[in-house]
């Protein structure tokens, strides 16, 4: 099947391309360019999709977006040469396919890693076909054209790396030190963030601008808080105090129930997850739990509040004349007493100055 063939009609195709393009900040007109790129078979890159310590949630969310074209587009766009979830083949047949894809497309294929990689005890806690995840990831990454870690597990360890982390699970960038790994954290990651990154690589051969954690800036450049649909309630000081209270029913700000939005970098608040409107924690009345952030998810208690990185003005105003503390009568009296004593002492001292200097024998200082 092709991108403009019977399974995906042109309108759906352009629509999905446009959403993905908007998310990576490319102009609308680039959709045509991408359509052409997809139509040209030779641009269809080989993709090797590895699964390690994970729940397959990222793959599932990718395949089960409400818009049917998305998954098909991915399958149209790329040649998925190895993916345990979607494979018809099994056992030695599957492993042979992996070796063949690596050999045929050396230096060109896109490696997508899903799931954390256990490193403790030489990585024996996750093995496929008798080989450890560590071995597989090193081998496949060596000849990859681009490496994408999808989901929080592959990006920095995710749930498998939560304390006490018995398997020494960690993310792909930590294992593949020195290599550029695009991380698309999220639990699960928004499929459009993967799509946007892949589309850019397929069409233009480049990767999007990344932050210091390898996350595409187009998706992870801002915090949830900055674009939160409940932000007005935060600014006005209207907070949900406990679940089910009046404020909760009215859709007020969830900060006090432990929302991690002010410290979480992701685009959930502006790009609907799988195109379902409101299908994300804050959208359904639950505080953001910071799934994209290594320092927050599965580490900070669900209902602990986070610091506001850069406080902004609220919806209130200071008065023209700020309230000053008033002076109490006691303080005034005390100040009067002290001042009076000083004045008196000064007067006495000046009188002393006018008197004759004490003789040497009378000077008490001489006695010591």
């Amino acid at each position: 099947m092709t991108a403009t063939g019977s399974t995906v009609d042109r309108r759906d195709f352009i629509r999905v391309c446009t959403i993905a393009l908007a998310s990576i900040g490319l102009p609308y007109a680039a959709a045509a360019e991408i359509a052409q790129a997809v139509a040209r078979k030779k641009l269809k890159p080989s993709v090797i999709w590895l699964h390690f310590q994970e729940c397959t949630g990222c793959t599932e969310s990718l395949l089960r977006t409400s818009h049917p074209a998305l998954a098909e587009l991915i399958l149209d766009l790329i040649s998925l040469d190895y993916c345990e979830t979607l494979f018809a083949a099994a056992g030695h047949q599957a492993e042979a396919a992996l070796q063949k894809a690596m050999k045929d497309n050396a230096g060109k294929y896109v490696l997508v890693i899903e799931g954390a990689i256990p490193t403790k005890d030489d990585g024996i806690y996750c093995q496929i076909g008798g080989r450890t995840a560590l071995e597989i990831v090193h081998e496949t990454a060596d000849k990859a054209g681009a490496i994408i870690a999808i989901g929080s597990c592959a990006s920095w360890g995710g749930i498998p790396s939560a304390d006490p982390n018995p398997t020494g699970a960690t993310g792909a960038p930590m294992v593949l030190k020195g290599k550029t790994v695009v991380t698309i954290p999220g639990c699960p990651a928004n499929p459009y963030n993967l799509l946007g990154t892949v589309l850019q690589y397929v069409t233009f051969g480049t990767l999007p601008a990344l932050d210091d954690k390898g996350r595409p800036k187009f998706a992870y450049g801002r915090t949830i808080h900055e674009d939160c649909p409940r932000r007005a309630h935060f600014d006005a000081g209207r907070f949900v105090q406990k679940f089910g209270d009046e404020g909760h029913r009215l859709g007020w700000c969830l900060y006090k129930t432990g929302c991690k939005g002010p410290a979480t970098h992701a685009n959930c608040s502006i790009l609907n997850f799988g195109e379902v409107i409101g299908a994300w924690p804050i959208g359904i009345g639950h505080p953001c739990y910071g799934c994209t952030e290594q320092t927050l998810a599965f580490r900070v208690a669900m209902h602990d509040t986070v610091d506001i990185e850069r406080p902004m003005p609220p919806d209130t105003y200071p008065p023209i004349r700020a309230a000053q503390g008033h002076i109490s009568p006691i303080a005034t009296g005390l100040a009067g007493v002290v001042g009076g004593a000083l004045l008196g002492a000064g007067y006495m001292a000046s009188r002393k100055l006018g008197e004759k200097p004490p003789s040497e024998e009378d000077d008490p200082r001489k006695e010591t």
Binding site: I308, P311, M312, P313, P318, P319, I320, K356
Partner: protein, 315 residues
């Protein structure tokens, strides 16, 4: 006593003569005229919606930390007034009956003849390019005389720092520097990102920047078009000797916390008082004469008592 009467009187006369001579050479105070490109702001209370975008933009442009000291949990940026980390703030006036409201954006007024620069003993505060009242921290000794002198209570001190500085609006002079003014739509405009940040981001042009002349002309035009809308006065046109930042308001300016000032600038008044005291050197001479008389009387009294004391004091 080591200073005898003859020496004291001689010194007094010499000092007096020198002072009189100096008085003779002093002249009436001449104010430096404002440059033609004197930059200022025009704030119109009828246009402001209190969005505080200017406050946030000021923080970003001047790299000042949000002041979250007044908010529970420190979650908001809530300066109560200008302070050591806040160069502009939007305040709200509400009349006692709640019928009249107005926002008010406070920042340095950039006086035509500023009190702070004359109070500053080392010239850390001075009027520089575009008439901007500028601060040079390397000359500041932290005396805070500028705080005392300013009639608008603008300069603030970084009380919490070990090496504190004075903090006040400098009309984004670090952005203005090097950029060239170009006339656009009758206004002197800098390329985007080089003008005063608060005015650049204002979504309703409640605060605009331009040369003082342009802003005055605009303010007059607005008042002529809508005489019913404004208090018939441009605050800053003459107040306190004139300021480069101007205000138009629909509520009395006193309610916005702007002091009622005469057309004389503070330094002018200060000059008059100082020179009045030393006019013809009469007051100092009278004071020193009185002191001299007291000393003379005391010495005479002491001399008449001295023989007795000498006998009693030393056996």
């Amino acid at each position: 006593m080591s200073v005898d009467r003859r020496y004291l009187l001689k010194s007094l006369v010499a000092a007096g003569a020198a002072a009189v001579a100096a008085e003779g050479t002093s002249e009436a105070r001449v104010r430096t005229p404002l440059p033609a490109d004197a930059l200022g702001l025009l704030y119109d209370t009828t246009r402001c919606i209190g969005c505080k975008t200017c406050v946030v933009a000021c923080r970003e442009a001047n790299d000042t930390k949000p002041d979250n000291s007044n908010s529970p949990g420190g979650i908001w940026d809530t300066p109560m007034d200008l302070n050591g980390q806040t160069k502009t703030v939007v305040k709200l006036y509400k009349s006692a009956d709640g019928l009249h409201r107005s926002y008010f954006k406070a920042q340095c007024m950039h006086c035509a003849d500023p009190a702070c620069t004359t109070a500053c003993m080392l010239g850390a505060l001075s009027k520089r390019e575009h008439g901007i009242v500028s601060y040079n921290p390397s000359l500041c000794i932290g005396c805070r005389y500028c705080q005392m002198a300013c009639p608008f209570n603008v300069p603030k001190f970084e009380w919490a720092k070990a090496a504190p500085k004075i903090v006040k609006c400098e009309l984004c002079r670090h952005r203005v520097a090097g950029a060239s003014l170009a006339k656009t739509d009758g206004y002197s405009r800098y390329p985007k990102g080089h003008g005063p940040a608060c005015a650049e981001v204002c979504p309703r042009q409640a605060v605009i920047y331009g040369t003082r002349e342009e802003l005055l002309a605009d303010a007059r035009r607005r008042m002529a078009e809508h005489p019913d809308r404004y208090v018939p006065k441009i605050y800053g046109e003459t107040d306190g000797g004139g300021t480069q930042c101007l205000y138009l308001s629909h509520v009395p300016f006193e309610d916005l916390g702007l002091p009622t000032l005469s057309a004389r600038s503070v330094p002018d008044l200060q000059h008059t008082i100082q020179h009045g005291i030393y006019q013809g050197f009469v007051a100092p001479l009278a004071l020193y004469g009185l002191l001299g008389a007291v000393i003379f009387r005391n010495r005479r009294k002491q001399q008449s008592e001295q023989p007795e004391q000498e006998n009693g004091g030393r056996p």
